[in-house]
Amino acid sequence: MSTTFTIHVDGAAIPARPGQTIMEACDAAGLYIPRLCDVEGLAPQGSCRVCTVRDNGRCVSACTQPAMPEAVIEHDTESMNRYRRDLVTMLLHEGNHLCPGCEASGRCELQAMAYRLGITDSNRLPYLQPVRPLDASHPLWVLDTNRCIFCSRCIRASREQDGKNVFEYVGRGIHKRLAVNGNHLADTSAQEGDHAMSDGICPVGCIIRKGEGFSTPIGQRRFDKHLIGEEIENKSGRSDLSTEEAQ
């Protein structure tokens, strides 16, 4: 039997178990912390930093930081949300994210996060507009790394679940980019059924499936109907947890 303890998120007492991250504890309690690189089923890596919270006064990524007893955590506050807006803005400006022309619009987590965080205005930051070649070599998918937000979800899914390493980063800093294990995607072992290539792994329009564009019309897509994160907020997390405790 594991002992539960309490963490205090914006003044609310949230139950947590040893070994849980702050994000896991909050998820279970139905408290959504915005995130882009973290996704169910893959090891967290804390690279997008959108889930930054203040844990006993120190900024950490909630997806990797272990929850500790009686931790005082600042999450949904003016300053945390400003950081998150800045980070999402950076990603929007780093790559080419022209939503009206992108097939992922409406199911794109970056776009959805921008809406959730209220990024609607223009700002003072320039656009970097990368011009990396499109990889349309593969019969099933197009790879447009100009839209990559460096979440590593495809890399991790390929490595952890497909056992393949189809993807990896090359280069460093702002010149870092997503590369494939071969000259082109078609040279790799990427194939139908790979978790890395499945829906919900690429959060944006970087990995795009060929041949079935716009099968769900704009306006009826996932984030056209719900805010990102609502599925976690709508979970009856607290009752789940108390049932567990009861057992």
Partner: protein
């Protein structure tokens, strides 16, 4: 004549041998890659494929490593002479631009471009640890110091004449630098020896005293001494040791961080050259104290010229029973050290990135917790300490913790090595008690007309005359020891600009704020330098800086906005003199000419667009992506990431021009 097939077979054999030499162990990737590059001049995709096969990995993983480090090349060029000119601000002020121009002219090649005609390459590289004898360069990793246009021309002509790099004419090296195994023209420039590092030390007296204590007692001594890490962060050494010693494990490691990459720092160069035995004694004591039997010295590639010397000293120590089994007759105390060569990445000075590099990976910091002391190298408890930190250990054990704690200040015990460079008459290494004031350092070094001092290198703080009374210690101005002095002639904003460019180049790219935020910060500085800044830009730079500091994953991003923030704080006039008021509701930051340039180029002068694309290829373009010129990086394309010319931003060379503009 060799056929293409024979050449390929030859290359494949070289690569396979390199892998075999390291047991086809992917965790020794750095060594394998150096081995291949030394033989073939670079690591191309064919070589990567073979390495991946031999080490049971994937080619793209190998490519990920090769492309991460700036000294690895993906272009094999046997017998190539690679000249790396130091682009640091100190070298800029000392005239590296003239030296570079002579190299370019004499060799007939441009910096960053490779020529098929001659096997010579010219590159810029950040601080190579020779700021006290700038301008300096590395030629096939052999340092050449105090360069002048004449000296550059002589070197270039000798290279063109086919003279081997190890036979190029050099001046006399000081101390061990003149030993055959080092043989470089480097000066030690030890200006002031102090009580700990450069005081007489009876060899092994520290180790022998440690051996009479239990490991826990040794850790206690270090705690009593109040020794804090000398790498800059000042973390108490005993805490790391205690955590590593008390984490249950079959293996533990002690790693010495000799990746001295902070611009303006070079004191570890001196310790490695003259005090390596002290360092190895310190590592051995650390190993005893934490129960480690394996040690690694992570040596930055810029100090590769010391590799043979250090290896020789390790061999000597093994011969004398100071490394290996049952050291000094202590049963159950086995310890040995290997040298891990880096390959050009500032981020590897961060302890968990350094560990990634030792493991043969991209030098990216690891997620913490777990901390290296709990789960570090290959997952085992690992203590990572700086060269200077480890060199203090023997003295503490030899002379006692009370003696050490009595030096320096309350919270900053001991002495500190300062690397002093820039506008002063006596640049070099000073061993001073912690707590010394900046003013005292300036007096010692002869920095009589300083307008600004950069304390702690690029990631430190730029302070002005009003703050020269402040103390160098963890309580006030913490520093890893870099003191860069700038006189009244220096353009402070272009210094800030260089430091920001440095951070953009050196960010590993793992996390968003550091990868992207620093680019925006650099672009904001450039906007102001061009005289296009508005009052709101200052506020947005502050806000951006705050986000980068708060949300970055490691120390690089936690400190990279410091050049901007500290110059804004201490030199606000530098910015305000270039800021323009919005006139008639127009955005001052809007540059009509630049906005039209793209369209003009597309419509009438396509050649210009093409040219910009070429220029934007990074110097050693591992990255095959093209962030195109005018379109992608309007500001960086001119003075930042592209051609690496030493900043020649016209707008700030003559700030008065803009003031007149504004007035008229």
């Amino acid at each position: 004549m060799t056929t293409p097939q024979a050449a390929t077979d030859y290359a494949t054999d070289i690569v396979k041998n390199a892998c075999r030499q390291y047991n086809n162990d992917a965790s020794r990737m750095m060594d394998i890659l150096w081995c291949v590059q030394d033989a073939l001049g670079g690591i191309d995709t064919d070589a990567m494929t073979v390495i991946a096969q031999q080490t049971s990995g994937y080619r793209v993983e190998v490519e990920g490593v090769v492309s991460f480090y700036s000294f690895f090349s993906s272009q094999p060029r046997p017998q190539v002479v690679r000249i790396y000119l130091c682009e640091d601000v100190i070298d800029q002020h000392a005239g590296i631009a003239e030296v570079a121009a002579v190299f370019e002219r004499t060799l007939g090649i441009r910096i960053g471009q490779t020529s098929a005609d001659i096997p010579v390459e010219l590159h810029w590289t950040p601080c190579i640890g020779l700021s006290d004898q700038a301008p300096a360069a590395l030629i096939n990793f052999r340092p050449f110091t105090r360069l002048t246009p004449d000296k550059a021309e002589a070197l270039a002509r000798a290279i063109l004449a086919g003279i081997a790099v190890h036979e190029l004419p050099i001046g006399e090296g000081e101390g061990n630098n003149s030993k055959p195994l080092i043989n470089v023209e480097v000066a030690n420039n030890l200006r002031l020896p102090g009580a700990v590092y450069f005081a007489p030390h009876r060899p092994l007296s520290g180790l022998d005293n440690a051996g009479r204590l239990s490991p826990a007692q040794v850790r206690h001594e270090i705690r009593q001494a109040g020794l804090r890490g000398r790498g800059g962060a000042g973390y108490p050494v005993w805490k790391k040791w205690e955590a590593a010693a008390t984490t249950a494990s079959e293996r533990r490691f002690v790693i010495c961080n000799a990746d001295e990459g902070e611009p303006g720092t070079f004191k570890d160069r001196l310790l490695l050259t003259e005090k390596a035995d002290l360092l190895f004694e310190g590592m051995t004591i650390a190993a005893y104290a934490v129960g480690a039997s394996e040690g690694i010295l992570y040596l930055r590639a810029e100090y590769r010229y010391l590799h043979a010397w250090l290896n020789h000293l390790l061999l000597e120590r093994r011969r004398q029973g100071l490394l290996g089994k049952a050291i000094r007759g202590m049963e159950n105390f086995d310890f040995d050290i290997r040298i891990q060569l880096g390959a050009g990445a500032y981020i590897c000075g961060e302890e968990s990135a350094l560990i990634s590099s030792c493991e043969g990976r991209r030098g990216e910091p690891k997620t913490k917790p777990p901390f290296p002391a709990q789960a570090g190298y290959l997952g085992y408890p690992t203590v990572v300490n700086n060269v200077e930190t480890l060199c203090a250990i023997p003295a503490i054990l030899s002379r006692g913790s009370q003696w050490f704690a009595g030096l320096g200040t309350e919270q900053s015990s001991g002495t500190k090595l300062l690397s002093v460079s820039g506008d002063c008459s006596r640049p070099g290494v000073y061993e001073v008690p912690l707590g010394i004031s900046v003013k005292e350092v300036l007096t010692l070094a002869g920095g009589v007309d300083a307008q600004a001092v950069q304390v702690g290198g690029a990631s430190g703080e730029m302070i002005g005359v009003a703050d020269f009374g402040r103390s160098l210690c963890f309580e006030d101005l913490p520093t890893a020891g870099a003191i860069m002095i700038f006189n009244g002639q220096r353009n402070l904003l272009s210094i800030v600009h260089y430091f920001m460019r440095f951070f953009v180049d050196e960010s590993c790219g793992y996390c968003t704020p550091c990868r992207v935020g620093n680019v925006f910060l650099l672009q904001a500085v450039e906007k102001i330098m061009k005289g296009l800044g508005e009052a709101q830009d200052i506020e947005s730079m502050r806000q951006l800086s705050e986000t980068i500091i708060a949300t970055s994953r490691c120390g690089l991003g936690h400190t990279s906005p410091n050049p901007v923030l500290s110059s804004l704080k201490h030199f606000p006039l530098v910015y305000s003199s270039l800021i323009r008021e919005n006139a008639k509701g127009m955005q001052a930051g809007f540059d009509l000419e630049q906005a039209l340039a793209t369209a003009r180029a597309i419509v009438r002068r396509p050649a210009e667009v093409l040219q910009c694309e070429v220029r934007l290829q990074p110097a050693d373009a591992h990255a095959s992506d093209r962030l195109t010129g005018v379109l992608a990086y309007p500001l960086i394309a001119r003075s930042g990431l592209d051609d690496y010319t030493v900043p020649k931003v016209d707008s700030t060379d003559d700030p008065s021009a803009h003031q007149e503009d504004a007035e008229s």
